[in-house]
Symmetry: C2
Subunit: 283 residues, 2 copies
């Protein structure tokens, strides 16, 4: 596996692949790999001839007071895991490579970013779309794989790609969970073991919501109250949002149907912010 | 010459050219061609195997109360002129093709857009960078040609291309002038013949500024006063800006040097807005 630090070298390498008519897949990540990342890599590997994984903890998508400095990092472990998945290139640029002096350009999607995490984290999604636009232009992949755990991020990236006529196929991968149901996340590393039960309130809330909907409940307001109460019945939990949205527009809905997604953001001891989501009517 | 109206067809045509390893040049325009446009086309033709000219009066770069509805249009004449220059494709999409329902993405450059036209026309440059980003992704040209009359636009596009790692060479073309010195512009069509002298105040102001600088004047404030007075000495002129900037940063300067650009925006009878610019020390 090749490790590339410079944008120019990454651009050259990718151009040579395209010159050989090889299909390229890109998996953008912030590193500290878990099984979720590895399954994105496997899916990318199946869809293309060459697999590039980017590892960049993107400063512009962290807000003031967020966990940029403490975000978990372990390059050697990440390198070994990527190598184990048959990754061709691990692209790990420095912030100076991605944002050189004088950088002034921003790619932003409106509307889709007004709700959910966009409401709590102003500027977050513009940071994501700007860096993903750059990665797409540097690597020029035929396809790129993103996890559905960051459901809003995936929707925003699909919107950007469509709106800006980018020639990249965006592939979503279902949420990968621990055996107990906890959605995999690099931020799970922040969880103290005694808080595990509280962290499980998210996945259990989704299961409970599905039961209630299967039982005939269609009033989104009632279900939201139910789920809020259920999550808060777990110790040390506080709620950023419990929202029922249309999975196509991310607009809040009042009645539950086949397109309704339950999206959750919950804090554990106010410190660890976890997100999870699920469709309420299994298709 | 092929006329293409749909984004999909333009994308396919350009992809086939790249498949044949042909170099593509793009000249983005809003139509109503004059000699300035035609020289951009000639330069594009020299630099590539295939030449695409886009003709799109981009609504998002016009502000409220600006001349979107009255902007001069003559498709048949434009088609003949482009054909005469050996253009391979005239890409003339509808607004619905470029901005379909649900469009929500914006590409914006900050800093460079704070001064000059950016100050007078909020949102103008974001409209330009967004549509140019789309055109670059649709056509994927090896190079694109822009006129230096819109000096700030050229600088903003160069910044976007560098910041977003776009693989396009941006080529600037010197201002093309009428025999009397008036910078060519589609908006010159708005000028009544009796206002010609007033319109010439811009190019004459640049010539006068060069004389004063050649004569030893280095104080930007004094030169700005001189030029302002000179322009206002012409009938029916009002000034949007008379600014001396560093041509690399577009930041206003206090002392004149080899990098100083004089940028002008002047209104004739308050209705017709003309711009012009020139370096003050000929290299």
């Amino acid at each position: 596996m090749k490790i590339i630090r410079s944008v120019d070298e990454m651009t050259r390498w990718a151009r040579e692949c395209r010159g050989r008519r090889e299909k390229l897949a890109l998996v953008p990540t912030m590193g500290y790999f878990h099984e979720g990342h590895l399954s994105l890599m496997r899916l990318g590997g199946e869809r293309a001839d060459r697999l590039v994984v980017s590892l960049f903890v993107n400063p512009t998508q962290f807000g003031p007071g967020e966990d940029l400095d403490t975000y978990p990092r372990d390059f050697d472990r990440d390198r070994q895991l990527a190598e184990g998945e048959g990754v061709d290139v691990l692209f790990a640029p420095t912030p100076e490579e991605i944002y050189p002096d004088g950088f002034q350009t921003r790619v932003a999607v409106s509307g889709l970013t007004d709700h959910l995490c966009g409401a709590d984290r102003p500027g977050h999604f513009a940071g994501v779309t700007t860096v993903v636009c750059k990665l797409f232009n540097i690597v020029r992949p035929h396809c790129a794989v993103f996890g559905e755990k960051d459901f809003q991020q995936l929707a925003v990236i699909r919107r950007m790609v469509r709106d800006l006529n980018m020639d990249v196929e965006i592939i979503g991968h279902p949420i990968v969970r621990e055996s107990d149901g906890l959605a995999m996340s690099s931020r799970n590393a922040y969880l103290a073991s005694e808080d595990r039960e509280s962290a499980l309130s998210l996945s259990r809330a989704i299961a409970r919501a599905r039961q209630l909907v299967a039982g005939g409940l269609t009033d989104a307001g009632l279900l939201q109250e139910e789920i809020t109460t259920f999550i808060l019945s777990h110790p040390v939990t506080t709620i950023d949002y419990v929202t029922l949205v249309d999975c196509r527009t991310l607009e809040p809905v009042s009645r539950i149907d086949d397109h309704t997604l339950l999206a959750l953001a919950v804090r554990i001891r106010d410190r660890v912010r976890l997100i999870d989501n699920g469709m309420l009517v299994e298709s």
